[in-house]
């Protein structure tokens, strides 16, 4: 029976499931145990599982991500929490040069089954150092898996998948979606990794989005439907493994592509989707591939400025219109 819960509660439920399922799963990060997590994601876990399974670390992201790797290599299944995705840059060496490399560089003799949980994106009034959407950095790093759940159900299912597979997985949640509730299927088996999802079918244009831009894309599609534009909306969900097949099949049908993400435009992962479509779906394309993204600025803090850069449903809708009426 699906249960209705908020995105952040679904994270909590998945973590409870993870710690329950395997004794060798440990959870650590800053303020995650005794204080129940800065956003409540780990609420009740310390009480339930004790200090041997979940504990608070010093403010040492490089230290504890490296610790996660060493623990994973030697047989545990750690989950480490980076409080804001922005802080991943402090520990980028452990992510790029260590965690992503070890399986390949040992010819498969070591594995690193660990999960790095983080949450990303802007929120009103937050400064540039608390607003990054860094998925493109991770997606360009071979060896990492990358999950960006956009719904409460996916927050639950994708995190469960992440803790189950034998690869290092970054699960980047969307802070702005934490309060949003949805039906969560707590009674289904763990899903296999990967797979984009067609959330809405339509013959006119393909809209590919992930994370916070998924509800924005759906909202745009609703608006557009009233105008007679029938958009197909795809939630990409996993950037690695990348389900390009679903995207390609859709574009082959619609002949038009709009990709939407919150990260800034240049070098964003939208470029990768656009580039593949421009290669693999070239003959089917009926209008230029378009991207919706923040312009190339660090995120400003003032809401009036944020509103001038953060992509929303209205920008998706505008871009779709331009693409369809091209």
């Amino acid at each position: 029976m699906p249960e209705s819960m908020r995105y952040i509660q679904a994270v909590n439920a998945a973590l409870t499931w993870a710690l329950d399922s395997r004794d060798d799963t440990v959870y650590f990060g800053e303020d995650v145990a005794i204080p129940n997590g800065p956003f409540g994601a780990t609420k009740g876990l310390h009480k339930r599982f004790g200090a041997g399974r979940i504990f608070d670390t010093p403010i040492s992201e490089t230290g504890f991500l490296g610790m996660a790797l060493g623990a994973a290599m030697t047989g545990m299944r750690p989950i480490a929490e980076i409080m804001y995705a922005d802080f991943a840059f402090v520990a980028m060496d452990q992510i790029v040069n260590q965690i992503a490399n070890i399986r390949y560089s040992s010819g498969g003799r070591w594995k690193a089954p660990l999960v790095i949980r983080m949450q990303q994106g802007y929120s009103p009034g937050a400064c540039a150092q608390h607003s990054h959407s860094p998925e493109a950095y991770f997606a360009h790093t071979p060896g990492l898996r990358l999950a960006l759940p956009a719904t409460a159900d996916d927050a639950y299912q994708m995190l469960r998948t992440a803790v189950t597979v034998d690869d290092p997985v970054i699960v980047a949640e969307a802070r702005m979606l934490y309060p949003i509730a949805g039906e969560v299927r707590t009674d289904v088996p763990v899903e296999p990794m990967g797979g984009a999802r067609v959330l809405r079918e339509g013959p006119d244009v393909t809209v590919v989005a992930w994370s916070r831009m998924v509800p924005a894309a759906l909202e745009a599609a609703e608006t557009l439907a009233a105008e007679g534009i029938r958009a197909e909306v795809i939630d990409l969900r996993w950037l690695n493994p990348l389900d390009f097949e679903t995207v390609g099949a859709s574009v082959s049908k619609t002949g038009r592509l709009v990709v939407a993400h919150e990260a800034n435009l240049t070098g964003g992962f939208g470029a990768e989707i656009a580039a593949r479509v421009a290669d693999e779906c070239f003959e089917d394309l009926r209008s230029p591939v378009a991207r919706v993204a923040a312009p190339d600025v660090p995120m400003p803090a003032a809401p009036v400025l944020q509103q001038a850069v953060v992509p929303e449903a209205v920008h998706v809708a505008d871009t779709v219109r331009r693409t369809v009426h091209w």
Binding site: E30, I59, V90, P124, C127, Q129, A301, A302, L305, V309
Partner: protein
């Protein structure tokens, strides 16, 4: 500074933070805020021994440093309201603001990251040779970040005129420092860099002043960096939305007996008390005026949003 002036400097910070919290609650401050209530003696004592050409850096909990450094209250309120303030134009807000005109290098929202930057300001000071000093404040929890380690050693090796002030308020967010290190005092780490480390009562503005005078003087004369650990307590939550359930009963109440303003009040005779009351009234007016002035500053023009990314 004499006592009333010190009181004024500290009370200005306290009342600023209190008003800020009220503005946050009434919806006028969009982002989250990290207040320094109870820690005012540290920036006031430190900035009191500084010259105009010295450099100051702090953290997201740095409003007190900005104010002690002479950054205007209206500008600060405006910045945090998301207005086009003359200091950071609404781009930085509460946790990342700076004021180039006051050599206030700024706050930083990445734990510890301001220390290497402060070392850079110290490098400039050393290069120029005019005896300027770079003072940087961090929290207790920040001592476990690699950036602080690297910067301290770098400053030591290069004899940089830098003073690291560790404001030990015994918590990093919701975690106790005693669970995060295995040393009694963080300043014990100074020895590992071959620099002096001292502990001072951070609620005693005179003690802070004395310790900072020594450390800053040392740096000014070219003898290199040092570390001052100032013991203090947060009278409020880590940030505006912190319910503080993790704090033992009575902890905040006890801290209120020891905090820098209460301490002066407790020792004050009737005459001084009257004087302090007057100061409080003046500050209240100053804060009111600053809020009014801040509200008169317009919001940034969205058309400028892509400016200033590059030169």
């Amino acid at each position: 500074m004499d006592l009333p002036d010190t009181y004024r400097a500290m009370a200005r910070i306290r009342r600023f933070e209190e008003r800020l919290m009220a503005l946050k609650e009434s919806g006028e401050i969009p982002g989250s805020i990290h207040l320094c209530n109870g820690q005012e003696a540290i920036p006031v004592g430190a900035c009191g021994v500084l010259r105009e050409d010295d450099y100051v850096s702090a953290t997201y909990r740095g409003h007190g440093w900005a104010i002690a450094r002479g950054v205007g209250l209206a500008a600060l309120f405006a910045e945090m309201m998301g207005r086009d303030s003359p200091i950071s134009g609404g781009r930085a807000a509460s946790p990342y603001l700076s004021d180039a005109s006051r050599n206030f290098i700024g706050e930083n929202s990445i734990v510890g990251a301001g220390v290497p930057i402060a070392a850079g300001a110290a490098l400039t000071a050393k290069h120029r040779g005019h005896g300027a000093v770079s003072v940087v404040s961090i929290g207790d929890g920040a001592m476990n970040q690699g950036n602080v380690h690297e910067a301290l050693n770098l400053a030591a090796v290069l004899d940089l005129p830098m003073v690291l002030v560790v404001e030990n308020n015994v918590y990093s967010e919701m975690s106790r420092i005693e669970d995060m290190v295995r040393v009694h005092r963080l300043s014990e780490r100074a020895a590992g860099y071959g620099i002096p480390g001292t502990v001072v009562d951070g609620n005693d503005v005179d003690a802070v002043t004395a310790a900072m005078a020594q450390a800053v003087g040392r740096a000014r004369e070219g003898s290199g960096p040092s570390l001052v650990e100032a013991m203090t307590e947060r009278l409020v939550g880590h940030y505006s939305g912190d319910a503080q359930q993790y704090r033992p009963a009575g902890e905040v109440a006890a801290a209120k007996e020891r905090e820098p303003l209460a301490r002066i009040r407790q020792a004050a005779d009737a005459e001084l008390t009257a004087r302090l009351d007057t100061i409080e009234a003046e500050i209240a007016a100053e804060i009111d005026a600053a809020v009014t002035a801040a509200r008169a500053i317009p919001f940034p023009d969205p058309a400028t949003v892509t400016e200033h990314v590059h030169a």
